[in-house]
Amino acid sequence: MPSLEKATAQGRRIEAHRPWPRVMVDDALWQALASRLSDGRSSLLGLWGEASAVHMALYDDRNKSVVVATRDCPSGRYPSVARFHPPALRLERALRDLCGLTPVGLPDARGWLDHGRWGVTAPLGAAPAQSEQATATYSFLPAEGDGLHQIAVGPIHAGIIEPGHFRFTANGETIVRLEERLGYAHKGTEALMTGRTLAEAARLAGRVSGDSTVAYAYAFSRAVEAATGIAPPARAVWLRGLMAELERLANHLGDIGAICNDASFALMQANCAILRERVLRAASRCFGHRLMMDRIVPGGVTADLAPSGAEALRELIGAVEKAFPRLVDLYDNTASLQDRTVGAGRVGAALARQYAAGGYVGRASGRDFDARRDLAYPPYDALTFETPTLEDGDVDARVWIRIREVEQSLSLLVAILDQLPPGAVATPVPSEAGEGMALVEGFRGDVLVWLRLDGSGRIARCHLRDPSWMQWPLLEAAIEGNIVADFPLCNKSFNCAYSGCDL
């Protein structure tokens, strides 16, 4: 079986693309790659487009290599990948909405991001056209049978959460089908990026999904650095790792509490919220911003660790290490809580592998992938840590993955603080043309950023792929056969991004 590199060797390689190869492929090779995906030899990392080209990033699990395949489509059409590999379905629908490229053979003709309210079609395409407000209703997939009824939830919810529509078809309490409809938080981020300076674009990247702002800024900066061929100073690299782990810690702590709260166990939520707040306050003391927004930029970081920062962090680590094991015990020993989480919302290992689900969703279902380890980038190449995996794939497993990752992040924070090198924290970025790509492990999973610089220090095209693209479809699968009242719990255990996917 040829490796991904060998399989794409006959394509013309684009030299400007770093660090992984980008090759131009023809129809035959495109199809061959699609079948590689469908028979599980490679995983789909992302699929995005430009005005007249479609790109697909593939990852080979065995030799840990990444290849971007590009197919020119001057006619505005390309052979659908989703026809063979369902995980590409929503990506292709979004691509059609954004760039107007038609996937030939795609079984689903409905839009995804475009709800007919933009006043324009294919805003990123070769010829954006004005359009009327759509009046046609979105047709959900049918589910027919005796006693089935539909429950429509959202996009506005009773709690203060992001907008998304869920259409349940249920038989009494048992869910027969769930279909998601997203895109309500569309902000046109990719169109906004085009033509911006690096500083402006970095700010935009940090606002794709607020809870992952460090991961996005980190991935964006790494992609710019790959494109321009520069390396940030050592201290900046380690500070980035510090911020990324702080963000992971804060989000996981918040999630663990929130999942328990959705089983009406508010005690856990209250205690986890206190710990999360301490992390955020420590982040504020260290870097001057609770979420560390706009602290990572191409070329380095904007804020060095505050003089009292290291001390604040060690204090925080001590406090969390003291309080967290008691909370884990509380979670583990509350039978009524375990009764809710164990066995609920199961995702099979085969599905997690097929969808290349990252983060806790994939790891709870046995997919052993961590961008920090498998596509190691500094400072993680010099750090030792474990990536926990479990096989059960239920809500409980996703909670346990988070618990283990909290422990790993704590020890990583200590290691980073111990080895933090001195020196400058930023280096200037030259205005060079080039193409760069980066994968950074956010708390949800691997964030992918691909971009092209135009040579005058501006963005020609930038694509940001949230890990939730691969996780949302699994939620639909996980909920099947569960009961309606368990959906909020399952949904919270996935905690997929709305804003990150709606772009």
Partner: protein, 318 residues
């Protein structure tokens, strides 16, 4: 003169439960918040909420029927009358001779029947889901409640709560297994009937998990105020019922002196406070159960009630 005093005492009791009900809800919320290391809303917040709601405009769904508009008042009336029948601070009040424990169960049952109708009236999916869940809980909670009534009636020889309370105070009572079983069963039924954790979460914002809240989602303004007050009354009723049957100490006897009645009322408020705090502690230590586990929970209550009644039969025939 005696009749006027009786009326005055009964009227005072009815006003007292009405005045205390939102306070009990506020106390439970406050206690829960303190247990979760939060400051929590002030005790008087439920009163303020009711005033706020009565000032607000009523928004009705276009297809709401006349039933939807009158149901809040029917629920409130049924619950208030039921609460008036429970001896709170005095035994032998005027109304207590006109209806017994079975009538209380029936009044609450009819209030619930109307609420489930209201849930389905507008035709939203959440209302329907809430009503169907409520009906499932009711079909199991009511038989359990009736079994508890039987147990008490067999012991005291009456279904009149005043008589039951009097019997509990008398030395004839002794220590009985059946009473313990009935107490546990009654607490379980009370939790289910009031939609508390682990059956339902009164504080949730998750539409899909709601039971009681799902049925009243479409209500607003004074309608919602009346429904909220009725559910506070129901909680107070169950706490009073448990206190009256299983902790009847301090109840003023028939036609007691005014000062004695005042003292009994103070004791009653103390009992409510203890009940409210205990409820908050219980709710904090447990997660909500899966909807399909509710039948198991209420099945246990039913079995306990049945066992209590059976034990009495068996011991009597010996």
């Amino acid at each position: 003169m005696g009749l006027i005093a009786d009326f005055a005492a009964q009227g005072a009791q009815m006003l007292l439960v009405l005045a205390l009900a939102p306070g009990l809800t506020g106390l439970v919320r406050k206690a829960k918040a303190r247990l979760l290391r939060r400051r929590g809303p002030p005790l008087l917040q439920p009163y303020r909420d009711l005033i706020r709601l009565t000032r607000k405009e009523v928004v009705l769904a276009e297809n709401a029927s006349w039933l939807f508009r009158i149901i809040p008042y029917m629920i409130f009336a049924g619950t208030w009358v039921a609460a008036a029948l429970v001896p709170t601070f005095a035994r032998g009040l005027l109304f207590s001779w006109s209806a017994d424990l079975i009538a209380i169960v029936a009044l609450l049952g009819s209030a619930r029947f109307f609420l489930t109708l209201a849930g389905m009236d507008v035709g939203t999916s959440f209302g329907g889901v809430g009503s169907s869940r409520e009906a499932m809980i009711a079909t199991l909670a009511e038989p359990a409640m009736i079994m508890i009534v039987f147990t008490l009636a067999l012991l005291a020889g009456s279904t009149q709560l005043s008589v039951v309370a009097g019997f509990m105070l008398s030395p004839a009572i002794g220590l009985r297994v059946s009473l313990g079983l009935a107490l546990i069963a009654l607490i379980m039924v009370a939790i289910a009937e009031n939609g508390r954790i682990p059956i339902d979460n009164p504080a949730t914002h998750l539409e899909l998990t709601m039971v009681h809240e799902a049925m009243v989602l479409e209500y607003s303004g004074r309608h919602l105020a009346v429904i909220e007050l009725a559910s506070s009354l129901k909680l107070l009723l169950y706490v009073s019922l448990i206190a009256c049957v299983f902790a009847p100490w301090g109840l003023a006897p028939l036609r007691a002196h005014f000062v004695a009645q005042l003292g009994a009322a103070a004791i009653y408020v103390g009992k409510l406070a203890v009940g409210g705090v205990l409820l908050a502690v219980f709710e904090t230590t447990i997660a909500k159960m899966r909807v399909f586990r509710v039948p198991d929970f209420l099945g246990v209550a039913l079995m306990l009630g049945l066992l209590g009644a059976l034990l009495l039969f068996v011991s009597r025939s010996l």
